[in-house]
Amino acid sequence: MVSETRKESPSLMPQKDNLWYKDAVIYQLHVRTFCDSNADGIGDFAGLTQRLDYLQELGITAIWLLPFYPSPLRDDGYDIADYTSVHGSYGSLEDFKTFLAEAHRRGLRIIIEMVLNHTSDQHPWFKEARSSRDNPRRDWYVWSDTDTRYQGVPIVFVDTETSNWAWDPISKSYYWHRFFSHQPDLNFDNPAVFEAVWEVMKFWLNLGVDGFRLDAVAYLVEREGTLCENLPETHAIIRELRRRLDLAYPGAMLLAEANQWPADVRAYFGDGDEFHAAFHFPLMPRMFMAVKLEDRKPIIEILDQTPEIPDSCQWFIFLRNHDELTLEMVTDVERDYMYDEYAMDRTMRINRGIRRRLAPMMDNDRRRIELLNGLLMSMPGTPIVYYGDEIGMGDNIYLGDRNGVRTPMQWNSALNAGFSLADPERLYAPVISNAVYGYQAVNADSQNRSEHSLLRWMKSLLEVRNAFQVFSRGTIQFLNPSNHRVLAYMRQFGGETVLVVNNLSSSAQAVELDVQRYKGYIPIEMFGRNLFPRFGNVPYLLTLGPYQFYWFQLRRI
């Protein structure tokens, strides 16, 4: 399923590749936000299918879909009421199948959400479980006569929840929920729950999906006297899922959403027998921090703490996503700094994070946006592009919860940004329409027509990245020059070596790189393909403009 448009070195890319997720560039979107085909104001699968050419031309190779299942939508679809169907607003199961086929035809793989930890309280399973204490599904959820069990377990949604227990007036007992109170946790101590979940996954795998992002995987199991996170029993569940997956669906991928320190996430890779991939959450805020501090220290520190993972596994890295920019995996000092620098207006803050998009956080500074994307595409891991960030979309912090970063995709300057033909009042959310980020100024159509737009730049960035497997699979070695405003590293894979040099500062910088061990190599700048002076016996002097970065392919000729 390799895209014909993808340039690759035949010697590096095998024909059948069960490690496709390591080389992927992921595009994250919610079907609701992307394109509305039936003028009801809500994006749907038919509309998304119409836009697959755009995604293919962008250069991404896989799409990660946020939840599209039937749901009361009290948590934007993460409260699932039916695991094996499609929410009516987004189309039908047939529409999904069509979308899947068209995506695959273009060489795009599809990753879907699978929320195992909890369901909506509207799910039939919960409705049955709560109907009486004797119901056969009673034990599918976690119940208690008191709210004192599992003391000290942190609350995730601190802005809205005051307890991890909620009182059920129907069955007159408490049920456990790590997230919203309308999202009761499933009880994985019950083998029937595991089997039911496996059946759900098989349903989608049989349709042809390429992988699952398992939401909130750290919280599957509870035990007294613990924080109810990352427990050995949870890993056992994952291992069994993985075993069955590899047996029946080789090549399908499991992606862990575990917002933990790298050392704790490491456990979710197991010995290559648990998750194929996991998000590197702590790296993300530190990229933002490094640019603001104009100091590479935060990035170096977190990657130094990042453990080795099995060869078949991969970190997934990102700049922004559908949630708040989480500041859980930072210190109090770092959190305060991030708030002061990126979220002075308290409306921008939610839970322990910042609910803004990339471009507004960068003050719409094209250079900084490019720098961060350059970091994303050159650091070790599979990069994820959040929909709209490729054109520099803005946000609407007044929409409540995290909806401000989930506004309609801006396709053109026509009605509703080309997202929908519905009356504007009917849109699921208003389009961004201010003078800076409004759809009249920021849209895919105008950027496609402008040779030097952000969108065109992103395409060239992805084109270069996709052409060299060193970015996706290579090692990383930091050079640590004395100028702390420059982040420089070598990426190596097979016979390929790439030098990446990033100026994190708003002012021009000079840097001397210790590359004497590469004496004789010729650095070739990878975007313009121009030759730079050969490495010699002395430190290599480079000068960089504000926020500028270089990717050099090193050739020995």
């Binding site: 501090l293 590479r296 220290k297 170096i300 000092v333 770092e334 700094y337 004395s482 100028n483 702390h484």
Partner: protein, 429 residues
């Protein structure tokens, strides 16, 4: 303006890597690896506890640690990975250490010039100079010097200490009241091993062509303070706790101490005449930190010996004193020298006139200026003896009141100094 290049290429390269900073702490040392290490840790800890978001650098001027070069060498470069790690504290930024290696023991002037150059080139907003040899150098004391400059926008922060009532007599009876009266700013510790200053004061001082002067080589901090005052920069004082005791044998040679302190003060009068000539009544220098009092711990100073040295010194230096002092002052001195020890008192007005005679004679260079300052030693001893006797039972409040009276006397007799300064005096060859 000095045109010679004194920054080494190596130092310049290090500064290039650092870039602009908010805070700079400088120090100099020679063959003092252990104390340097302690000082570096204290500075690092101060940065991490008090200035976690600021861009910081430590500038160390030193060398000669032949056996322990490792300590100096390790201090060079970025501390992102190897710096002090405090539990519960995260430093957001890379912390830099810059080392200017010099082969010979650096004079205080050379060390300060290097530090000022670094501050200027790095556009540091607030700086401090500390001494590794100061026994009570703590993270809090370093922060106390930096905060008034960085946060309150002062240009000079002199230290303020909690003293024993018998400590700092030279400052109490001469340096403080005289500088306060003439320069108009009530900085108690004009001469110290640690002080804070702004980047703009650093630039001002760096660009003055004074670096060859002996006064700068010996005690440049007073000159910095006077430069700040005379440039109408904002000055303050920062409480640092107890004044560390000097080790025995160091700083106890009163002649040498007078050469360095009074000699520098007199030199400042020479170079800043246009300021102090028209300077009005003195203003207090704001103080940061807790209120404190003198302590009344007993002293082991030998009063009798001090008195004998006073009397014998005045007698031996009679010819020299006659060329320095005004005849009326000299007559008064000869009169009190002849008194019995128990009845001897060096009254304030005579003491002040004596000092002003010395200052004026320094201005006219009636004799070699170095010898002139040294000749003050026995008279200072006389003043010290008188002070010890007069205040043996004084309370801290009484002593502060007496200090204020002495300051008033200095201000009152300023016209006398001006008159002596302008007078035509025969210079003995």
């Amino acid at each position: 303006m000095a045109e010679d290049v004194f920054l080494s290429d190596d130092l310049l390269r290090q500064l290039m890597s650092v870039g602009e900073v908010d805070l700079l702490v400088g120090m100099s040392s020679h063959n003092a690896a252990n104390t340097v290490s302690h000082a570096l840790d204290a500075i690092e800890e101060s940065f991490q506890r008090n200035f976690v978001r600021q861009r910081v650098v430590i500038v160390h001027v030193g060398g000669g640690d032949k056996d322990e070069d490792g300590v100096v060498a390790k201090g060079h470069g970025n501390l992102a990975e190897t710096g002090l790690r405090l539990p519960g504290i995260t430093s957001l930024r890379t912390s830099h250490r810059v080392t200017a290696n010099v082969p010979d023991p650096p004079s205080r002037g050379i060390a300060l010039r290097t530090i000022l150059a670094a501050a200027d080139l790095l556009r540091a907003r607030a700086c401090a100079v500390v001494s590794p040899g100061v026994s009570n150098l703590t993270p809090d004391s370093i922060a106390s010097l930096l905060r008034p400059v960085y946060r309150e926008k002062f240009d000079f922060a002199a230290p303020l200490y909690a003293r024993n009532k018998y400590q700092g007599l030279l400052a109490r009876n001469l340096l403080y009241p005289m500088s306060r009266a003439l320069f108009g700013c009530g900085i108690r510790e004009l001469f110290s091993d640690e002080w804070g200053f702004s980047g703009r004061l650093a630039s001002l001082c760096l660009n003055q062509d004074v670096w060859h002067e002996e006064a700068i080589q010996a005690r440049p901090e007073a000159w910095m303070a006077v430069s700040a005052i005379s440039s109408d920069f904002r000055c303050c004082q920062a409480f640092l706790g107890e004044k560390p005791q000097a080790a025995k044998g160091l700083g106890t040679d009163i002649v040498e101490v007078l050469r360095q302190t009074v000699g520098t003060l007199f030199w400042c009068l020479e170079t800043q005449q246009s300021w102090w000539w028209d300077c009005g009544r003195s203003q207090p220098a704001p103080a940061f930190g807790p209120d404190h009092e003198l302590t009344a711990d007993p002293t082991d100073l030998d009063r009798h010996r001090i008195f004998e040295m006073f009397r014998s010194g005045v007698t031996e230096l009679e010819p020299i004193l006659s060329s320095i002092l005004d005849p009326e002052t000299h007559s008064e001195i000869k009169s009190i020298v002849s008194r019995e020890e128990g009845k001897f008192r060096f009254k304030s007005d005579i003491w002040v006139r004596t000092l002003y005679d010395f200052a004026a004679s320094y201005h006219h260079a009636v004799i070699n200026r170095d010898h002139l300052v040294q000749a003050l030693a026995p008279l200072y001893r006389g003043m010290t003896y008188s002070f010890l006797v007069e205040h043996s039972d004084s309370s801290p409040a009484d002593m502060e009141a007496a200090s204020e009276l002495l300051c008033g006397e200095f201000e009152l007799q300023k016209p006398y100094l001006m008159e002596r300064w302008k007078a035509k005096i025969e210079v003995k060859s």
